[in-house]
């Protein structure tokens, strides 16, 4: 108890956190005083050893990890609960969204999905000039960054080339804010080269937007569609993810005597344990937390049966290299065909296992496989199936090494392609890389241009200058800078050639 008091006190008195940030960490500590959802001893042991991991989501899952409201409903009908009439003008529509966001829960307390904004706002833009549209989006963007300061908050645009998407890209390049994160859904048939060229120029300006392969994602979901949220999680609209659990593949490989033992015994065992962990957390959310009594369900912003579970894996690179060593093979992940093929085989086995395991209270009765991008305390474990930081080959070789994985990870597999600054004189190269990567089956990727102040740590953006200031005890207005600072210290992210790495969620406050 004394430890707990001390911990709470250190949060309350922290010199670098704002009152809101303190409240968030204090609430996490309170939740974690509750007993964990029921786990059998074997699962508990694997969790304690962090071979499997619950992303420190908390001991009482009283809200889903990620919520993707169907915002078109509140824009069409307004909200009885929030006493909002249906909007008729662009100002009213933006205002309705601004209110709606504050009622959307998530694991961080800040909405991770703010909608496919061009699609949502375009019907309100008929009488609006391009210049007025730009001004209104600019104010909206400033509001989002200042009141919901978390780069996990994610907007989508595309796949069509339209006025709202262009206004958003113009504003985003001009303001260079951390929030919101932005994904452009690209469809070679529908988008056209012009907007892809604008997006490429934006990447040179501010490392955003992330680019997603729309036809591939659309095929994996249904007619209600999908959204790309937080750091590149792909989930059903009007639903989301109840939980995200993950397996540390490196730890599984280290517990294996060799490749055969890995595939025959250890991997199946930890897959099973991670399914048990996942089901236990879903059961609490659905059967005990009363979350689905919310007005969000009543007014059909979300539907309970559209929540999936994300089944994450990470440290593929270390797992493959460990198995290669056990088999006395020299080839390393990312550079050697045999090592790469072993990685692809692991992904295929994972996908088959996830597809074959029924879960209660999950969309379509199954989890969705996810290449998980990391936590700030992951040490020597590379995010997802990525190639370790600082050792990546050129972007073309990089894509060739990783593209066979992409078919398996329907709930997201974020990749970061590092391009040196020469691309500033040649943004067309980014367009071409995009086309090449998608032709090879990439689901999505981010391009990181070396030496931008705004850089991506896994999925979210941080400012390098903010990290420096934070370390000088000045505090940071944006939540993700805290995560970035921790990740920079622990995982060596700034050693990365340009400077990007994986870290999706900070597990809690630390001294």
């Amino acid at each position: 108890m004394q430890d707990t008091i001390q911990k709470l006190r250190s949060i309350a008195n922290d010199a670098t956190l704002s009152p809101a940030q303190k409240r968030h960490y204090l609430s996490l500590e309170a939740e974690n005083m509750l007993p964990y959802p029921t786990l059998d001893a074997e699962t508990q042991e694997a969790l304690d050893q962090r071979v499997i991991c619950d992303m420190y989501e908390g001991h009482a899952p009283y809200k889903p990890r990620y919520v993707l409201p169907d915002y078109s409903i509140v824009l069409a009908q307004g909200s009885e609960y929030l006493e909002l009439p249906a909007p008729e003008t662009l100002d009213e529509a933006i205002n309705t969204l601004m209110i709606a966001y504050h009622h959307v829960p998530s694991v961080t307390g800040i909405p991770v999905y703010i909608g496919r904004l061009d699609h949502l706002l375009l019907p309100f833009c008929d009488d609006i000039s391009d210049e007025d549209l730009y001004e209104k989006i600019k104010l909206f963007w400033r509001y989002l960054d200042r009141t919901l300061p978390d780069a996990f908050m994610h907007a989508n645009i595309g796949p069509t080339d339209n006025r709202v998407a262009r206004a958003i890209l113009r504003v985003d390049a001009e303001l260079k804010q951390i929030a919101p994160n932005l994904t452009f859904l690209y469809d070679p048939q529908a988008s056209g080269d012009e907007i892809l060229a604008i997006a490429s120029n934006n990447i040179v300006e501010c490392c955003k937007p992330h680019i997603a392969n729309h036809p591939v994602h659309a095929a994996a979901f249904d007619e209600r569609g999908y959204g790309i949220v937080s750091c590149y999680n792909v989930l059903p609209i009007a639903g989301g993810a109840s939980t995200l659990t993950r397996i540390n593949l490196k730890e599984v490989a280290l517990r294996s005597s060799g490749e055969d033992d890995f595939f025959a015994h250890q991997l199946p065992r930890y897959l099973d344990l991670n399914f048990r962990l996942t089901q236990s957390r879903i059961d609490y959310l659905f059967n005990e937390s009363n979350f689905f009594q919310s007005f969000l369900v009543e007014e059909r912003w979300i539907e309970a049966d559209r929540f999936t579970a994300m089944f994450g894996v990470f440290a593929m690179a270390e797992a493959v290299n460990a198995l290669q060593e056990k088999e006395a093979r020299a080839g390393r992940y990312g550079f050697d065909e045999e090592a790469n093929a072993l990685g692809h085989r692991i992904s295929a086995v994972l996908a088959k296992a996830v597809d074959g395991r029924p879960l209660n209270n999950a969309w379509r009765g199954r989890a969705l496989l996810h290449s998980q991008a990391g936590l700030s305390d992951d040490v020597k474990a590379t995010p997802g199936v990525r190639i370790p930081y600082g050792t990546e080959p050129d972007p073309v070789t990089h894509v060739e090494a990783l593209s066979p994985h992409h078919q398996y990870y329907s709930s997201g597999i974020s990749e970061i392609l590092t391009v040196d600054e020469s691309v500033r004189n040649n943004p067309e190269a980014i367009q071409q890389l995009c086309k090449g990567a998608f032709a090879r089956g990439f689901r999505e990727f981010t391009v990181n241009v070396a030496s931008n102040d705004l850089v991506r740590v896994t999925g979210y953006m941080v400012r390098l200058s903010d990290i420096r200031k934070f370390k000088e005890q000045q505090g940071s207005r944006t939540n993700t800078t805290v995560l970035g600072a921790e990740a920079a210290d622990v995982t060596g992210i700034l050693d990365r050639k340009p400077r990007v790495v994986g870290n999706e969620l900070y597990p809690g406050h630390s001294q």
């Binding site: 050129d394 894509v399 600054e421 020469s422 040649n426 067309e428 190269a429 090449g436 032709a439």
Partner: protein, 288 residues
């Protein structure tokens, strides 16, 4: 038709500095200039099979077979010790490629490519190969949209250009100096043919970029810059000019002792060009 071969120093499937977009770059071996400032000096010479590199190879990837250097790419660990000892700035690791082999590579990487660039060395020394390669690309259904570029020092006469331009989309042309004695000292050759080439290519609408290497104390004087300005204006003030900065990366010999060009110096030169009405000036994004 694909029997023509070229001596190739290196091939890149990812390059964002050799023309627009991402390009397949084929570095052809051999150059008719001998620039002290060259950042790829091992592409200048053509191997005379003297064998001096053989003892330098610590993995036995080099040998003499029938009086000719034989290179084993599987054994090679790319330490480049052979390049260090070569007395004539050649490269024993070169490989002959046929047009058909390059086409195969272009097809394999097609989705990633905006175009193909031949560089060097001085690629126009192997002009027949370039013509045949570019002609084959233009005739190939799958590859026809790739743009075909040449990176050249301009030491090629008009008849040569006339042969290759019908299948070439753009040329990046280097001018080393507008002052002939300086040019002679830097490259071993006169600048007359290079300047003629620039005029010819511009008139033909194929001069994609005029490149000028700034070397402190050698090519960054006001007089040089004013000559550059005058020359560009004669071509057309909208000509794209790329100012490059002399760096030590890759350089061998006496030029290592030369001062590196700073970003400040490049920016000053760029400003001078812009002030004179030349708008399309590109400067390096990266200084090593």
């Amino acid at each position: 038709m694909s029997s023509t071969q070229a001596t190739v120093s290196k091939i890149l499937t990812y390059s964002i500095v050799d023309g627009p977009g991402n390009r397949l770059v084929i570095f052809l071996q051999g150059c008719n200039f001998n620039c002290a400032c060259c950042h790829n000096p091992h592409t200048i010479g053509e191997c005379n099979h003297c064998g001096e590199c053989i003892p330098a190879c610590h993995v036995d990837a080099l040998s003499l077979v029938d009086g000719r250097i034989a290179y084993d790419p599987l054994a090679c660990d790319h330490c480049d010790a052979c390049l260090e000892v070569c007395p004539i700035s050649a490269n024993p690791m070169v490989r002959d490629y046929s047009v058909a082999e390059i086409l195969e590579l272009a097809r394999e990487y097609r989705p990633f490519l905006t175009g193909v660039t031949v560089s060097g060395g001085e690629p126009t020394k192997q002009l027949d190969f370039i013509i045949e390669l570019f002609r084959a690309i233009k005739a190939d259904k799958e590859l026809a949209e790739l743009s075909c570029f040449i990176d050249s020092n301009g030491h090629l006469g008009a008849p040569g250009w006339e042969n290759v331009l019908p299948v070439t989309d753009g040329v990046m042309l280097d001018i080393k100096s507008f002052d002939n004695p300086t040019h002679q000292a830097l490259t071993g050759m006169q600048n007359v043919k290079s300047l003629e080439s620039a005029r010819f290519l511009h008139a033909a609408g194929k001069l994609y970029e005029l490149r000028f290497l700034l070397i402190p104390g050698k090519t960054d004087s006001d007089a040089e810059l004013d000559s550059l300005i005058g020359f560009v204006k004669e071509l057309g003030a909208d000509t794209r000019v790329k100012l490059n900065a002399f760096q030590h990366h890759g350089v061998k010999g006496e030029a290592i002792g030369w001062e590196k060009m700073t970003e400040v110096g490049v920016d000053r030169a760029a400003e001078r060009l812009r002030a004179a009405g030349i708008d399309n000036v590109a400067t390096p994004a990266v200084y090593l």
